[in-house]
Amino acid sequence: MTYTIASSKLGVIGEPFIPADGINVAALLSGGFIVEQSTPKPKKPAKTSTDTNEEI
């Protein structure tokens, strides 16, 4: 999970936020200081049709 800064009291708005040791991330989220950024899922590979008919 990644976080983005949403308040200038924490840093530059829009920059990624990497919590240091001991930082209470839940409190920052509930206070509106950071927003959660969901990590994009990797694209699924395109489906390819497999010809299972064997030619004899």
Binding site: S30, G31, G32
Partner: protein, 136 residues
């Protein structure tokens, strides 16, 4: 002997949030509990160092505006966090070291401390945690 003038103007962060502009007093005290080890034959009490139990007490202006005092502290009561303080807002250096309490505990949070014609101020105390100091 040289003397220096030091104007108190510290930079304070609570849970990474810069609350300098809401803080009017800060008092960081490093405490290492004294364990008495006086034994028979001694003529004075003697002690050895026990567990560290430092405290940071802040006096803050209460503000319920977005991302201000209340928003920072409300979810921290009863939990541990990290606080930092350094003498001035200048870059961290040997003459402006940053002190950190990692994993300190906020036990109480006054919600309202109102008096007619006065600003709402609160005193909060962070207790415990690991003390460290950095000069760069």
């Amino acid at each position: 002997m040289a003397t220096s003038t030091y104007l108190s103007n510290p930079l304070v962060t609570v849970n990474s949030v810069d609350l300098t502009d809401q803080t009017s007093s800060a008092n960081l005290t490093r405490v290492i509990e004294a364990l008495e080890s006086t034994s028979f034959g001694k003529t004075a009490r003697v002690y050895v160092g026990g567990l560290e139990n430092s405290t940071l007490t802040l006096t803050m202006y209460n503000s319920f505006a977005a991302t201000e005092t209340y928003a920072t502290l409300a979810a921290l009561v009863g939990t541990s966090t990290t606080v930092t303080i350094k003498p001035t807002s200048a870059a961290t250096s040997a003459t402006n070291p940053v002190s950190t309490l990692t994993g300190c505990y906020l036990e109480t949070l006054p919600i309202i401390n109102a008096a007619l014609g006065a600003l709402d101020t609160i005193d909060i105390t962070f207790t415990g945690g690991v003390y460290s100091v950095a000069t760069s």
